[in-house]
Amino acid sequence: MFIGYINVPGDIGPTAQALEAKVPKAGFDEAKRLQGTLLKRYLESLWAGAAAGRKFAYTFVMGNPIELLSAFGIVPVFPEVTCLNISYRGGAPGLIAASEEEGYSTDACGYVKMGVGAALKGGQTPIGNIPRPDILLLNYSGCQIYIHWWEQLHYLTGAPIYTVDVPYIREYDGRVPPHDIDYVVGQLKELIPDLEKATGSPFDEEALREAIDRSREAWDLWRQCLETGTLRPTPFDAYFESIYYMSPITLLRGTAECVDFYRFLLDELHRRHEAGVGPTKDEKFRIIFEGVPNYPYFKSFWDLFKKWDARCVASTYPKVAGMVDSGSFRLDPGRPLESLAEYMIHAYCNLNMIGRVGLLERYVKDYQADGMIIHAIKSCRSFSMGHGDIREHFAKELDVPTLLIESDHVDPRYYSEAQMRNRVDAFFETLALRKRR
């Protein structure tokens, strides 16, 4: 029996099809709204789950085995996602201050500080109450700070840490030694009795296979959506809009709603393309975007690019939940744990820098980009250590115009609108001159 966490208790609410029926065909921005509805429902499922006495596992976005959790009816909580949503709504400073008063440094990751801040406030946040963790699932893939974050919460809440150690991709041709896969698969197997004990329900392998199959389908659709970025003009912004679109694949993988959402999105993107509609009036510049966005100023940050009719055609960040277009993994219900392990290992930040640079190079070529924007954030060395070097490579060795800007993803104290605008404007002035030449 598969228990989708979103539908318990109560009903599912409008699925994509239901919504589609209500929306006139002319709407070209309905997927974003649907995403908002799904996100809201996800949050409501947390509260409903708390009321129903469900178990909560905190887990990370990059490389998590969410399908395994849902096979046990465990509700996953993604503090990264809750934090970014709080920050998007302007709620970061209070939570960050709460942890800095506890002694967390200004140099520590804003996510950790917000997450700890929320725990210190008993889960009270501007987007509602975040349930306490019963399990801290440490899927250590791509980010070392994941370990430290869960350690903080462990000492703060007493919740146990269950670890799935995912080795870094450390061969420069991208190969993964077989003992890495065995190790991850083995740990997932060890996790099963732990989860059985924590929930008191036996492992239902069939439920896992079903969830994996639904995930696979969603991944396939999402990949097709992302690849519409190769169209000229692109029907969507593969960074700023994708950041909305990525939430179902992050939160709801393994559910039918997730599959529906991407089917709906793919259709909308095709409709946009046919109608010649896109995220900006025109498509003057095609850019690749690398790095985590700035959530507290998300819209004005986007405006800096919109103003120049620049559209992002491909980017890395919206794929943190899975590098779906890199061909590095494909979920397979026939080998659920093995394919999950391959998925977990190939998280974006788990790639070494040679791999990351190679991927970006491919984007520039395949998506016919005019230039690249790199947004480094102070909070995240996993993403940002190497951004300076990526710029070197593209600007100097490949002659791809590249702009490196910096701020933070959740902490508004590191964003300076005027400085950002100055850099972005100068970049597009340069790009305009270059296009003229």
Partner: protein, 390 residues
């Protein structure tokens, strides 16, 4: 000997020469290679299985960072300013060719910066041998041991391809025996510093320990034995200072001037993390098991907390309180490198344990290249005064 008699008369002089050499020059490594025909591996902190390198004909050398002795122009252009200094200076050294003497550089999963630095170095120096070890994090999993063993075998294959040696278990056992001896001596030195801190000024203690990260192990053992003998007989008198442990400086090294200032400002440093990676492993049992596995097991089972190694079974809070009490320290000074996230997170874990145990502590930041310690001095003096005069 890698230093001529002229530059290494006494053990202290040998240690100091070795430390000076380990910032930017590595001349002694060059000489060792020329004399022995061997190869050298440079490893980024914190821990490295030196035995494996030794058994394969390599001299293992720790990269400590340039501590302000090079201009960081290359590093500035390739890395952003919120990156810690040791990563920046290590990159600068690599791009200037100062690390050419090393046939291979090894990185590991101690933090995100070190992880990415491996690939950045590779991208800029494609011809350079770069290896990366993934130490298991799920150390309570029964699979962790075999996994690390596989990693060691993989590393050994990589090193062996360069040196033309195969890993021979006998040679590895010999290496383990030697490094066991080295770690034991380093531990004895640390115990002496803990029991009678007035005998050894920190700067001297530091040089004696750090030299073990660059000198060939046999030379180092001889010198350290001599040194320990000589130090025991010193006739220094204790002063009225507070006993502190210094925490957080396990990777990027604090400027020596800063550490000296802590002792000058009324403290005895009776324990610190600066070079713990060199002796942290402890004794590897040579009990007939596969020596590679023994080496791996000692890592996986090590009960000592290490900020850069997560071990699900270790209670860091209980650990730190025990450590401080065992060291007979009256307080803890957290010295964390600027932008070193791992140290900053453990600071919070540790400090809340210290609050509960009513152990006084203070916190200061440093950069390896730092040269001004005035504000830290004020804090340390206040800290010492507040403990001394209560």
């Amino acid at each position: 000997m890698v230093f001529s008699a002229a530059d290494a008369g006494s053990p202290t002089e040998l240690f100091e020469a070795a430390v000076e050499d380990s910032y930017t020059r590595f001349d002694s490594v060059e000489r060792w290679k020329a004399a022995t025909g061997g190869r050298a591996v440079g490893y980024f902190p914190v821990y490295f299985p030196e035995e494996l390198a030794y058994a394969l004909g390599f001299l293992p050398v720790r990269i400590f960072g340039a501590s302000g002795r090079v201009r960081l122009d290359q590093a500035t252009s390739h890395t952003q300013s919120f990156i810690c200094s040791i990563a920046r200076s290590a990159f600068q050294l690599a791009s200037e060719g100062a690390l050419d003497v090393f046939d291979v550089l090894v990185f590991s999963n101690i933090c995100d910066v070190a992880r990415n630095l491996s690939g950045i170095t590779k991208r800029n120096l494609p011809a350079k041998g770069i290896a990366y070890l993934h130490y298991p994090v799920n150390n309570t999993s029964p699979r962790a041991l075999e996994y690390l063993r596989e990693e060691y075998v993989r590393l050994a294959r990589h090193l062996g391809e360069l040196s033309g040696h195969d890993l021979e278990l006998d040679r590895l056992r010999k290496a383990i025996a030697l490094y066991n001896e080295k770690r034991d001596l380093v531990r004895k030195l640390a115990m002496l510093k803990q029991e009678r801190p007035w005998l050894i000024p920190y700067t001297e203690f530091y040089a004696a320990t750090r030299a073990g990260g660059i000198l060939p192990v046999e030379d180092y053992i001889d010198a350290l034995e001599d040194y320990l003998r000589a130090v025991q007989d010193r006739k220094a008198k204790p002063m009225d200072k507070i006993r502190v442990v210094v925490l957080g400086n396990f990777c990027e090294q604090a400027p020596l001037g800063l550490m000296k200032m802590i002792e000058d400002a009324g403290c005895y440093i009776v324990g610190d993390e600066a070079l713990m990676g060199l002796s942290w492993l402890g004794q590897v049992p040579l009990d007939g098991d596969d020596a590679v596995r023994s080496l791996a097991r000692t890592y996986v089972d090590n009960p000592t907390a290490l900020t850069v190694r997560f071990h699900p079974a270790i209670d860091k809070q209980a650990y730190i309180v025990d450590q401080i009490r065992e060291a007979g320290a009256q307080g803890a000074i957290f010295c964390t490198p600027k932008f070193c996230e791992p140290a900053l997170y453990d600071y919070v874990i540790y400090k809340s344990a210290l609050d509960k145990a009513k152990i006084p502590y203070m916190h200061a930041e440093y950069e390896e290249s730092g040269s001004s310690f005035e504000s830290v001095r004020t804090m340390v003096e206040t800290f010492a005064e507040s403990i001394l005069f209560d």
